[in-house]
Amino acid sequence: MDPTGTPTTVVVAHREHSSHVKAYLRVFLALLALTVAEYLYARLLTDAPAALLIGGLLVLAVIKAGLVGLFFMHLLFEGRWKYLVLVPTTFLASVTVLGLVPDLAYRQDDRAGAPPDHVASAGEEP
């Protein structure tokens, strides 16, 4: 804010605050719409291929989380210092999960060799 605090500056600042409130409300509506979309997506595609179901839901969840981070947590407005926190965290979190993928693949390979033929199997793990 302008340190002189002249009336003109105050009016401009007030308008900018109002525009931020409008942005928050638009993000809120977007989050609600995405939550409804997620709910309907999961409900209507319950029997769809796992990749389509999981992929679609994760994309929607990431968009929602991104909106919260960018606007409500003000990441969109922060300076470059934010990358010092976000990049290592994102890298380590990704490695933590991706490092488990080979294990998952081996387990699924093992399982594919011994299907449960004694019962009608449904909804097996993707």
């Binding site: 947590m73 909804g123 097996e124």
Partner: protein, 420 residues
């Protein structure tokens, strides 16, 4: 670079709340990297790793769960190899005479009368539940009971064995989680994020009254989220309340400290501005309303359908009833699920790997929300005494960062645990 102010009085992260653009970002109107904000983001980074660890473990446990771990007719972990030809009688709808159906279910399944009532009630809500199973280990006259239940007006059918590596959503025979209720709760938590960001926007304008009101709204909405989560847990776990030792501890524990805090706030508010007293009085009225509704629930003979219709409050009223009528003995709360959910008919941490994963992840998140509500309550009380101003409100922003992070984590958990 600006001189670093003491913690709690530093400039905040709002884009217009500073005098200088930081070095390294010429031409962009970015807020300064204050020590408090950087510290909070570093803390949130550790929280990201914590929840990533939980979600990563969940993915491994789920993907590594062998086929046949869950089935519609037997408890989780049952060896299905020798039960291949089993069939089960599934109750889809109790019909118009649930009491008669419950009596038949009690006889067929060997359940105590009260458990049979809750079993039929739960089946009606979820849409399906296994009454009894015919297998080499438990021979039963499934067809005979199907006819008797159908004659009593119930909708029933006989189904074969189905197995799953992990309980799929929308399958009430193995997965008791209510996606409808949790989608509503997700909506509620998102609402609290909006009220939190509006509280910050208010104090950035210097509007202390709206800061207090939006903070109060955030606290109430956050508490509602927690209340629904507790309701969900009660329905899933089906706890037994020992009435002989429980007196009106609930109201003493909740109402007395709240009333004391608010009275103190009221006394302080008289020394400051009149409008803060209005906020305090409004809060006192809310607490009083809660007590009046609770007492009405105890003394008035409310219609049972009305109690069911008001959902989560029903459980609170039943709990109140149990607490006040100390001589009626133990009372069981919550749902009574089909056998595929858990051997006991409840969904408890010991029921299955799915159950223990669910309670670990949602429980840790709930603990974070509880911490956030407590922190926001302290901040709200301070706001009533004029503790924040347009120039000094860093704590509000830091608490907001934490609150939005908790919301963000729930968005991921809702998708991973409930929907997928």
């Amino acid at each position: 670079m600006a001189e670093t102010p003491p913690f709690g009085e530093e400039p905040t992260g709002e884009p217009h709340d500073h005098d200088h653009a930081p070095s390294g970002a010429p031409g962009r109107d970015t807020p300064p990297a204050t020590p408090g904000k950087v510290a909070m983001w570093l803390f949130l980074a550790t929280e990201v790793m914590f929840f990533t660890g939980l979600i990563g473990s969940y993915v491994v446990l789920r993907a590594g769960s062998p086929p046949g771990s869950y089935s519609n007719l037997f408890p989780p972990g049952t060896d299905l190899a020798s039960r291949a030809g089993a069939v089960g009688l599934v109750l889809l709808d109790p019909g118009e005479d649930p009491d008669k159906v419950a009596a038949l279910v009690a006889e067929a399944g060997g359940l105590p009368a009260e458990e049979a009532d809750r079993f039929v009630e739960t089946a009606g809500e979820i849409g399906e539940a296994v009454v009894l199973v015919d297998s080499p280990y438990e021979p039963s006259d499934v067809e005979g009971w199907r006819q008797r239940l159908a004659e009593a007006g119930a909708s029933v059918e006989v189904r074969g064995l189905e197995s799953f590596a992990w309980p799929p959503p929308y399958n009430g025979l193995v997965n008791p989680l209510s996606i409808d209720l949790t989608a509503l709760n997700t909506f509620i938590l998102i609402c609290s994020s909006v009220t939190m960001v509006l509280a910050l926007a208010a104090i950035q304008r210097g509007d202390t009254l709206r800061l207090s009101l939006w903070l109060l709204a955030t606290i109430l909405i956050g508490s509602t989220f927690l209340g629904i989560q507790v309701y969900e847990y009660i329905q899933l776990i089906g706890p037994t309340i020992e009435c002989s030792v429980a007196v009106s501890g609930w109201h003493v524990a909740v109402a007395v400290p709240l009333a004391a805090l608010l009275l103190l706030a009221l006394l302080q508010a008289r020394k400051t501005e009149g409008r803060t007293a209005a906020v305090v009085l409004l809060s006192l009225v809310l607490v009083a309303c809660y007590e009046v509704v609770s007492i009405l629930g105890l003394t008035a003979d409310l219609d049972a359908e009305f109690l069911e219709a008001i959902g989560p409050v029903t459980t609170a009223l039943r709990l109140d009833e149990a607490l006040y009528q100390a001589d009626i003995g133990p009372i069981e709360l919550g749902h009574r699920y089909s056998v595929g959910v858990g051997a006991s008919g409840h969904f408890r941490p010991s029921s299955s790997l799915f159950a223990s994963s669910f309670f670990t992840m949602t429980g840790f998140h709930g603990a974070h929300v509880t911490g956030g509500v407590l922190a926001l309550t302290l901040i709200w009380l301070r706001s009533l005494f004029g503790g924040y101003s347009k120039e000094s409100h860093a704590v509000v922003e830091l608490a907001g960062l934490y609150w939005h992070f908790v919301d963000l984590v729930w968005i991921i958990l809702f998708t991973v645990v409930y929907l997928i």
